[in-house]
């Protein structure tokens, strides 16, 4: 029994120490970033920011839609200062709830108009292209679909993978909705429900195509390029097919960043957004090996990537991409 008593004492002490070590002293404001972008990429960018400005940043990671809705639910009590996403529908969701402070004019001037909503409530800081990937043993070139909307056809039954639960694919659906309209999108989703194998995220889908579990999938371009640059382990047997021709499947998704209205550190938060869209920030993005496209005209993308102009993306006003409507349509199609 004495041993148990001593063990309990150790438990208490360790619990207290563990609790205390969670609180540390700090000097100067530390920004809180709600981050839905890839954590590795954001760590590189934030290190560059801290080095330039001395402002420290803490990250809270999650997905686009969950963090956006969390911000909205938190409202005025939100501890977040800055919000960054992988795709723009989540930014629009927060903007419509009045969750952003307007950005500094100088920041907006750093970014071409097509990557900024007309409200100026937030800005794009990176871009990624939709791409059709296929296992070259299982799909011949003449079978390749001309449009992403073809994937609902019977020839793709059980042969295409999508990460339906993730924000990336939901952003692609929002582009289909913007280009094709509601009825066509609902039909297309119903076709996908019949045809598609569901994966957890783009990487899992890429791996599955490479392994021959599913012949093809729709993902973003950089997953393939990243793996090719590293080892090729999960992309060796996979080729890319860009839809181009302003097809909804040529959708260029914009990663956004904005200053949270509830932030107590507005000037520092503005500086972070300004940095991410500045030449230095954009260069850090290109140098990070993330292989996403920069949005600034002053910095060119990694030469391994096809030039954006060649991809012939559809002309979509980013403010119109409707995340919540997409979720509702996907629920109705029983994909969620």
């Amino acid at each position: 029994m004495g041993r148990v008593g001593r063990a309990l004492a150790v438990l208490v002490t360790a619990g207290l120490v563990g609790g205390l070590s969670a609180c540390g002293g700090d000097d100067g404001p530390t920004l809180t970033l709600y981050n839905a972008q890839h954590r590795d990429l954001m760590e590189v960018l934030l290190d560059a920011f801290t080095e330039e400005t001395g402002i420290k940043v803490e990250m809270r990671s999650g997905g686009d839609a969950e963090l956006a809705n969390q911000l909205v639910q938190e409202g005025d009590s939100s501890p977040a200062d800055v919000f960054a996403t992988e795709n723009s529908p989540a930014m629009t969701l927060v903007e419509r709830a009045g969750g952003f402070s307007p950005l500094d004019r100088a920041t907006l001037d750093q970014v071409p108009d097509q990557y900024v909503p007309s409200s100026g409530a937030w800005t794009g800081f990176a871009a990624r292209s939709t791409v059709f990937i296929y296992n070259r043993e299982q799909v011949t070139e003449d079978e390749l679909p001309a449009s992403i909307t073809d994937l609902s056809g019977p020839q793709w039954q059980g042969r295409v993978g999508v990460a339906a639960g993730g924000a990336d694919f939901q952003a692609i659906v929002s582009a289909v909705l913007a280009v094709e309209g509601e009825d066509a999108t609902a039909d297309w989703l119903a076709g996908l429900k019949r045809n598609a194998k569901i994966y957890d995220n783009n990487i899992a889908a890429l791996r599955a195509v490479n392994a021959g579990e599913v012949p093809a999938a729709v993902i973003y371009h950089y997953y393939w390029y990243q793996d090719q640059a590293e080892s090729g382990e999960i992309s060796r047997n996979v080729d890319l097919h860009y839809f181009k021709n302003q097809d909804a499947g040529a959708f260029l998704s914009v990663s956004g960043v904005g200053v949270v209205a509830a932030s107590d550190h507005q000037p520092e938060a503005q500086r972070l957004v300004s940095f991410l869209t500045s030449e230095a920030g954009q260069r850090a993005l290109v140098d990070s090996g993330a292989l996403e496209y920069p949005v600034s005209g002053q910095v060119t993308a990694n030469p391994a990537l096809p030039p954006l102009a060649d991809l012939d993306a559809p002309d979509i006003d980013i403010s119109t991409l409707n995340g919540p409507r997409v979720i509702e349509l996907m629920r109705q199609a029983d994909l969620l």
């Binding site: 360790a14 839609a65 501890p79 957890d200 990487i203 979720i327 996907m330 969620l336």
Partner: protein, 502 residues
């Protein structure tokens, strides 16, 4: 009849534990009947119901068979190396289900889908049947079986007609635990691409944070859990299982296996290989292969200390909260005590994500100061894992004779001293077992930790999950290994106390 402060404490604990349930029910009511109907009666929910039922039924049945067979071989036969087998068969408790899943999926994608899911959850959860059934077999009076044999029953029929009915509480209780775990299991099944209610709730959360659709699905889970609990109570029946009459039972004479020992050894060996060998070998393999990814010693150390700290704080808080509830239920039996105790079980069926979403909303509306603090996270752990502590404490309090307290009081000790010097030492084993169970659960908890922890908190489970999501198995492996290492001593203590019996 009920001491006021004790009753008050129990009511407060029960209210805390019921916060997520109130939230789900309240949400369901606020959504309205027609919208609820639209969200619930659709093919997707049907698919999930089928998947969840197949998994729960299959997992409970296979765990029951495997756990009982293994327990009988270890406790009742002359199998060589029984002590070693006991440790090996209980050891999978230290390997969290999502690590078993990781071990298999990172080796072969053939593990995906229903057969793989059933195999993996069985391997991860059968010890929940094995341990109580083994303890029950040890406590069983062999005289009953001997009488049956002498009256002409063969060995198989003796087992079916005499032993099995005696094992019913342990077997059903263990199977119920497996079922409840499977209802709330997330990580393992998400990796295996086998959608159930819990993984679907997570997808809803990813798509829209806190939505009507997610809360409707959670409501179905609550009902499902209710069905399981009631079915278990009904099947258990109202029989007496204690021995009658004076005297003490002697240890059973082990059954002689003869040549049957060969397949028995092979079978147990296969179970240990699949449940323990494959995941551990997989971790080691990725540690070796994944050396290209830098070995982040500082990050690993931080995540380990954070996980252990949260585990200890969670275990301590939960045991303290469970104590009055167990005390009231045992020492002051009656409707109110039972009701309060049972009400602390409700959150057990809810996945971590639902508990977390409820606490996010409630804390933002009522007490913004605790939002995203360690305190709120610990509260979530307590709500989720209270039943584990209560069950362990109940048994301990039941075995501490109240008369000893009275004697101490009569000898002149003040009530507080009585508690410290007499009661606490008597129930200490139960306190320890409860704390260990909660510690194990907290160390591997994922979704509530992601949502509620202070910004910047990284635990072994969250880092493991983030790397696994990126299919970066090499980087995930050290976190998986550390989770197993952190859980192993606690599991060992637990199996030792289970071996000694209650």
């Amino acid at each position: 009849m009920y001491p006021r402060p004790l009753l008050l404490a129990c009511v407060l604990v029960a209210l805390l534990a019921a916060v997520p349930l109130f939230f789900v029910v309240g949400y369901t009511i606020s959504v309205g009947w027609s919208e609820a109907w639209r969200l619930l009666v659709r093919p997707r929910v049907g698919e999930l119901l089928v998947n969840t039922t197949e998994l729960v039924a299959g997992g409970m049945a296979s765990s029951a068979v495997l756990g009982t067979a293994a327990a009988w071989l270890v406790e009742r036969t002359d199998l060589p190396g029984r002590r070693v087998w006991h440790v090996l068969l209980a050891a999978p408790l230290a390997v969290p289900a999502f690590v078993v899943s990781f071990g298999w999926v990172s080796l072969t994608s053939a593990a995906q889908g229903y057969p793989g899911a059933l195999l993996i959850v069985t391997l991860a959860y059968y010890p929940l049947v094995y341990l109580p059934v083994g303890a029950a077999l040890r406590g069983l009076d062999p005289a009953l079986e001997e009488s049956a044999r002498s009256l002409g029953l063969g060995p198989w029929r003796t087992f079916a007609r005499v032993v099995l009915p005696q094992l019913r509480p342990a077997l059903l209780g263990g199977a119920l635990l497996v079922g409840l775990h499977l209802l709330a299991e997330f990580g393992a099944l998400q990796m295996l691409r086998f959608p159930t209610f819990t993984t679907a709730i997570y997808d809803q959360y990813r798509s829209s944070f806190n939505s009507a659709a997610a809360n409707m699905l959670a409501g179905v889970l609550v009902l499902y859990c209710g069905v399981l609990v009631v079915a278990e109570l009904g099947l258990r029946g109202r029989h007496r299982y204690a021995r009658l009459g004076p005297g003490s039972s002697r240890p059973a004479v082990p059954a002689r296996l003869g040549w049957f020992a060969v397949p028995a050894l092979a079978g147990l060996g296969a179970v240990v290989l699949l449940a323990l060998g494959i995941p551990l070998a997989s971790i080691v393999r990725w540690l070796v292969v994944g050396t290209s990814t830098a070995f982040p010693a500082a990050d690993l150390a931080t995540a380990t200390v954070t996980a252990a700290g949260l585990g200890l704080a969670g275990a301590l808080t939960t045991v303290v909260l469970a104590l009055p509830v167990a005390w009231l239920a045992v020492r002051h039996p009656g409707r109110i005590g039972t009701l309060l105790e049972r009400s602390t079980y409700t959150a057990n069926a809810l996945p971590g994500i639902v508990v977390a979403l409820a606490l996010v909303t409630v804390s933002l509306r009522v007490l913004p100061a605790v939002y995203q603090t360690t305190a709120l996270l610990i509260a979530a752990y307590s709500i989720m894992f209270l039943p584990r502590a209560t069950v362990a404490l109940r048994a301990a309090v039941a075995q501490a004779p109240p008369v000893l307290d009275d004697v101490a009081r009569a000898l002149g000790l003040r009530p507080a001293r009585v508690w410290w010097r007499v009661t606490l030492p008597l129930i200490a084993p139960g306190v320890g077992a409860g704390a260990i169970l909660v510690f194990l659960a907290v160390v591997t908890e994922l979704t509530a930790t992601l949502l509620l922890s202070p910004t910047g908190t990284r635990t072994l489970a969250t880092e493991f999950w983030s790397n696994t999501n990126d299919i970066d198995y090499g980087a995930a492996a050290p976190y998986a290994g550390l989770m197993v290492l952190l859980s192993a001593p606690a599991t060992f203590l637990l199996t030792r106390s289970a071996r000694r019996g209650p």
